[in-house]
Symmetry: C2
Subunit: 483 residues, 2 copies
């Protein structure tokens, strides 16, 4: 076999021990909070049938699906069925590929619910933490393989679900020590605006433009609407209504200093035409339910902000829309979500309302890194390295290691006797192991061990029983004083 310089596909990543430990620190917090609220785990296959995936993410999404080559001799099959000269026919994809990699967790969830609708007890609260794949052009911070951490409840219209999801968001970011703002909006309010502007069918164009308000300002939004074919009169109408001559009051994102969410919401009721739009009123009513309970939902590290510019670009949200940003690190949204009324309809099960959220693992990781918030004990795997000096000491090391592990103290024995002692201590340093124990003939004779604190350099001799007591205390204080 020829020697090759190995590499991994662009847009994918290896996660070494420290990165996995840090990622699991985040994932375990998300999982434990999901379970505290009764969400149950679901895992779906990495491979889905293309018939399940195609057409669910728009034409652009179809192109970004990773497709898996059929097993067996697909080339022969192709030859049999297609005139090899007519290359355009090659795109008859099913001949060479019938499966693809999961593109998100929402479509597989909908597919699962429909397939198992007779066994599932509704409302069905599930969480799912698995990787997804997109054949995007790789770039800084954008990967082709990345994790999503979703929770959805399906089969319940109650806004109590929205309340619980806000509590979940609050709990997770409290445990992570990240200060956040939860931005809220409601798709029905956006629909209402489109309706009373007289252009209900152009809601998508309006929301896409309005969604960019934070980035491109009011002039940018106007320009974009113009390019989309809106005439000056239409644009004026939209801005009359959604800005009401005073951006600082209506735009939740801008108004927070001056105005409560409830006040901003009440302001909407004064808009000309509000009384005639049922959907507008319904949207405001739904937001009312949430903001009435706002005080129960806010904790030290969490602000909630009504943001009428929030649309999240996704076409399937029909009610509440969620987005979370860090108050300290500008990195874009670290969570998104919303309510959708008909997710399973495409698979033949209509009228199932659902609402869900999705934590952005990679960005949360970046926020924790930038704010230096990963606890030291989250990344320390081994507590003790035992270094025996000869075969006799090695047998003693096996005995001691067994005792330590029985106390749930993670322990390694340096396995190769002939390696120099300096290299063994370096091993402990490199692996961030806080304590090294040396067993030589002296220690063996006196039934003692020599323990070295790898951070302070402090050394002393103890019996194994004293050692276990000390370690249990030291591990505790070590965790307490971690950076």
């Amino acid at each position: 076999m020829s020697k090759q310089k190995p590499s991994i596909p662009s847009g994918t990543r290896d996660f070494g021990p420290v990165e996995v430990a840090k990622r699991n620190y985040i994932i375990n917090i998300i999982r434990s909070v999901y379970e505290l609220y009764g969400y149950q785990p679901l895992e779906t296959p990495v491979m889905e049938n293309l018939s399940t995936l195609m057409g669910k993410y728009g034409a652009e999404g179809d192109k970004l699906l990773f497709k898996i080559l059929n097993s067996g001799d697909w080339a022969i099959e192709l030859k049999k069925k297609i005139n090899a000269a007519s290359i355009s026919q090659y795109n008859d994809l099913i001949l060479v590929s019938e499966k693809g990699l999961r593109y998100d967790l929402t479509v597989p969830f909908a597919r699962y619910v429909v397939m198992n609708q007779n066994e599932i007890t509704f409302p069905f609260k599930r969480y799912q933490i698995q990787p997804v794949w997109r054949a995007d052009r790789p770039q800084k911070g954008r990967y082709r393989e990345f994790y999503q951490c979703d929770a959805d409840v399906i089969g319940s219209n109650s806004l109590l679900n929205e309340i619980e999801l806000i509590q979940i968001i609050s709990d997770v970011f409290s445990k992570l020590n990240i200060h956040i703002t939860i931005k809220l909006n409601n798709r029905k309010i956006l629909n209402g605006i489109a309706e009373i502007t007289g252009m209900p069918d152009r809601i998508i164009d309006i929301t896409i433009a309005v969604d960019k308000y934070d980035k491109i300002g009011s002039d940018g939004v106007k320009e974009e609407l113009k390019q989309k074919g809106f005439n000056d009169d239409s644009i004026k109408k939209i801005f009359e209504i959604i800005l009401m001559h005073n951006e600082r009051i209506l735009f939740g994102g801008l108004a927070a200093k001056d105005s409560s969410n409830i006040n901003n919401l009440n302001f909407l009721k004064s808009i000309d035409g509000y009384a005639n739009s049922n959907i507008f009123q319904k949207g405001v009513e739904e937001m009312d339910y949430i903001f009435e309970r706002e005080n129960d939902l806010i904790s030290n590290n969490v602000k909630i902000k009504f943001d009428i510019t929030l649309a999240r670009g996704l076409n399937y949200y029909t009610g509440t829309i969620f987005e979370v940003v860090s108050n300290d690190v500008k990195i874009g949204s670290i969570l998104g979500g919303g309510r959708y009324d008909d997710l399973t309809g495409i698979f033949g099960l209509p009228n199932m309302s659902g609402v869900g959220i999705s934590f952005g693992l990679d960005r949360i990781y970046d926020v924790l890194t930038e704010l230096n918030l990963f606890p030291e004990n989250a990344i320390t795997v081994t507590t003790v390295l035992i270094i025996p000096f000869d075969t006799e000491c090695e047998n003693k090391a096996i005995e001691y290691a067994t005792q330590l592990r029985r106390e749930n103290i993670s322990t390694e024995i340096y396995p190769d006797l002939q390696v120099k002692i300096g290299k063994k201590f370096k091993y402990a340093d490199d692996k961030n192991i806080p304590f090294a124990i040396v067993i030589g003939s002296d220690e063996l004779k006196n039934n003692l061990v020599s323990i070295k604190n790898m951070k302070s350099g402090e050394q002393k001799q103890l019996t194994i029983e004293e050692l276990i007591t000390e370690l249990n205390n030291d591990i505790k204080s070590y965790s307490d004083f971690s950076e």
Copy 2:
């Protein structure tokens, strides 16, 4: 969009809440024991370059790789480069596919070690618990997507690593309450046998045949050797040596009742030609090291058995070979592993010795199911379901739920007020929720909650503080008395 009846690719599986909980019960035990011994987590991408994967698993393995279609217009590329009429050229795979799904965790591990050799501190102890894919024909118990749970240490020749892996095996199956036999052999002993038989280059054929001894008996092994082209004289020689006229003594698997591992090992030393085979002696010496420490390694639920018929069909093992079977359920091996001397050589890093094991998650799951060994609390996610009767009670429910969750008691509120009470209790039953709390106007007035034990049917009224105390006790006793 047309309605479609959704399905998943054959050989793949959805794991619903109960299955995930049970699988995680196993995975968490394996992970915690790996970490107790200082093994650190690694995660590699699901997609690897085909150049990394091809040629590593034999010609048959290459066919069983799931290959991913290149993004973009691969068909046009194909047309450009290949005469469309010459169909045989279509198998010039790289034109349409350059990536594949991970086939095992060992090759990606080797690839990672070589790519990161300058940052890694050796010996490198890593564990990896991730799915792999094989385009095998799906059948009962054989899947195209399944998890492997590997631990390997690379960069250490010490047999202490073998000792630790045996301890890990013992600890994991003790925690799972599965009674097992660890079968051990050493590839060097098999090589030694081939050598003193005078056919050192036919070791693969010999071991493949001998490996089937348990299934097809001595006549079957003889027949297989014949078909492989061994003449009667060679077969006689092999059997003279490996059976030594007495299967019951030499074959570890058969001899356990009569003879200790050390005795079986000593027996090998008496074989004619042993003194002349260095590799044979080295193999026996390595096994000696392990069996001398055998008493430290055996626990109540673990037997260790020298089994000279064990070869595990894999070509890359060069030293110790491990296999584990359940003593109570006949299901084949539930763990395999061994030592390999040159795993990273194919990627340009020679002479790195490693040893590793791999737990068979699906089969362990089946053993636990058949023996009814999954603990009840492993599959209960939610502890309390709160059922409020009206909007006022719902607000109280939110308050109580927050208190319960603060005590780490997993709590749900049934979200839809209009649903009939019977359906709400059925929800608790279906989800295996042990306690239901009802809040109506009476309870609200008296500041009490009505709690129902869903198993016993017992009901009583309590304050929320009394409830929390009771629940903390009840949850404990509930776990204790679980089936």
